[in-house]
Amino acid sequence: MALLRFGSEFPIPTLQRELERFFHNPAFTQGLSGHGTYPPLNVFENKEGVVIVAEVAGLDPSQIHIAGHGRTLNISGERKARETGNPVGFHRRERSFGAFSRSLQLADDYDMDRAEAKYQNGVLVVRVPKAESAKPRQITVQAG
């Protein structure tokens, strides 16, 4: 699978094309996956491990809880409205608020104990590194 490399002036079309390939893949749309649950997740990998990304605007980092139980990673939290006061009326009301929780099963080769999470500009990024035992190793050939 091609790694996303954005040398070009226009990285977004490349990224959109790569992400979209999965939306039409029947292996991921026949009920086995979590489509429709909040927050939608994108899962990537790189040399270090797996990277889980979610767009969750307007959260307070202290309201995001990430827990690992064995191979299961759980992301939960609550989005509370930041605005105060009682308006006299609403012209648009499209954003949603409330609690969310999602779990995700990872393969055995990841080390949940060393997982890291970062929340920036409303995007949550959880990185779970590969377990030492799953990393490729060089085997020295000994002269016989």
């Binding site: 990224l15 994108n42 990537f44 500009n121 409303g122 995007v123």
Partner: protein, 133 residues
Amino acid sequence: MTAQEMTAKEKQELSAAQEKTRPGRYYMPDVDIREFPDHLELWADMPGVSDKNVHITLENGVLSLEGRVDTDLYEGLSPLYTEYNVGNYFRQFSVHESVDCAGIKATMRNGELQLTLPKVEAAKPRKIEVQVS
């Protein structure tokens, strides 16, 4: 009492009438517009957009909001499984003449854009004292 559960909704792509000349697809941010006696508040969700990459313009009574997402995060990553697409955001609103355009203020925090649109003095509610004749 347990909090209301959030549900995922599909991101809305920009319609053809508003299509942009920049490459890539644009999405419409989810917006709340709340009216108060002396001002309006506009909140827009643009996850992935930093305060430096949000552009707000007001021209001929049309307020345009554009947010460009940061793609650095995806450099060197290989997708395994995806549920949503990523793109820039764009949305326009006609601004009523009761809004004091010079007084509009914007802040961006955690992917959440907040605009405060004060009303011009003439549009603010006022109390009229009834005089005893």
